[in-house]
């Protein structure tokens, strides 16, 4: 109950008080770059917890059949190094992503968009019990991504539920990405953006709650970005031995 209240309070606080700009690093965005285009992405995460260190390297291929829909496949590799000695590497859970933009309101230099999102996690990885990385179990995530983008600032937020029928990792998730451009908006684009991103995660069946903060920086050229972020727990209310220490993110995306 306390966790639910925390989620709701943070959710409301964030929604009422913050602004952002650009595509976030650890979150998602509702803007799609033109029908018929492909984007390849990778966002390596090095996650260190009390259990060990895990390196997650996904290769993501996104395709936009139209200006308001997206399908993608994520092929990930995971390297694991447990504190108790076990280590190795293997294929992690393959994911299929689908997005559909159902609302768009445009004005000069700004746009508001809403997107319905589903992420289907296939049980192809090892059973490492690592949320979002490798669970070896099927899960279906259903959520809404919202974004308000302007040339000076913007906001992207995501709210959704991850349903795992044969496991205990059902999760209520809320993300908020705030970004500010450090350079004047220009085209052809050359951007340096700062990101301030929050992730609320409540693992319902285990009653775990985490509020994570990620500080990121992104360089964006014409059709390529390079991203770096460090994520730290602000609230780490999970079982002892499972707590997150920090995560590093290193990524790039290329649109063609």
């Amino acid at each position: 109950m306390i966790h639910s209240l925390r989620v709701i309070v943070v959710l409301l606080g964030c929604t009422l008080g913050l602004n952002a700009q650009g595509p976030p690093i650890t979150g998602d965005k509702p803007i799609m770059l033109g029908g018929g285009s492909f984007t390849t992405k990778t966002l390596t995460e090095i996650r260190t917890t009390q259990r060990g260190t895990f390196t997650y390297v996904p290769l993501m291929l996104h395709y936009l059949p139209s200006s308001n829909s997206l399908v993608a496949v994520h092929l990930p590799y995971i390297g694991f190094n447990f504190e108790n000695g076990g280590n190795g590497g293997d294929l992690a859970d393959i994911r299929i992503l689908g997005k559909y933009q159902f609302f768009r309101k445009d004005a000069t230099g700004k746009t508001i968009r809403l997107v319905a999102k589903t992420l289907q996690t296939l049980p192809t990885g090892r059973e490492l019990d690592l949320i979002d990385l490798s669970t070896g179990r099927y899960a279906g995530y259903y959520g809404i991504v919202a974004g308000y983008e302007t040339l000076k600032y913007g906001i992207s937020a995501e709210f959704g539920y991850n349903w795992m029928p044969n496991g205990t990792l059902d999760e209520l998730r809320y993300k908020l990405g705030v970004g500010l451009p450090l350079l004047k908006p220009q085209y052809p684009n050359k951007q340096l953006n700062l990101y301030f991103e929050y992730t609320n995660s409540w693992v319902v069946e285990r009653d775990w709650y985490q509020l994570l903060y990620a500080q990121g920086i992104q360089y964006a050229g014409k059709n390529i970005t390079f991203d770096f972020a460090i994520q730290l727990p602000l609230v780490n209310d999970v079982d002892e031995g499972r707590k997150l220490k920090q995560s590093f993110f290193l990524g790039t995306r290329y649109t063609f």
Partner: protein
Amino acid sequence: MKWATKKEKMKRTYIILTITLLSTIAVAAQKEMDAFKVQVDGLGCPFCAYGLEKKFKEFKGIKKVKIDIETGDFSFSFPAEKALSMEAVIKQVEKAGYTPITAKIIRANGTVENSEDGKVALDPNKLESTEIIVAGNCDLCKARIENAAERLNGVGEASWNADSKLLSLNFDPDKTSLENIEKSVANSGHDTHSHKAKDQLYDKLPQCCHYERLKTK
């Protein structure tokens, strides 16, 4: 010696003729391009502009693509022989995921088509050119002033200079009047010497557009 000079002269003449011929061909080729101006809403970040440009690159032969993300002004030229239609341009903006507000095509033969009025072709021989003073400050003002003029049926090209404050335009006096153009500009929040913008409209302009008010005649 004389033979060598004669040969030299002939060589020079050939070079000059070749350059002249190539220049003529180049100028003729340049004239064969239609110019397109589209006002696009929803370009909330430079990446959005990339998405728009990428979609239009599907039109093989597109040249001089220019996007001003602050004003949403998108312009390009395209070979006249391919007769790219207004509908195709508007549809392509929508396919890119953005909202087209107005579009104008200035054909290589001088005719002008406006999206708002359907295919209203202006006879280049009937167009009158003129300049009027319009108050404003910045690129946002420029986009607003030019759009206010160009959206009128009968107006060809309109270009406002932030330094001189002059709006240079051409229009067909059978279809519209200078009075109408100045009214339209004033209704967008910008003073001219004949028509002052309403205070409410002026107050609604972004801070950077708050120019020094003009005294109307």
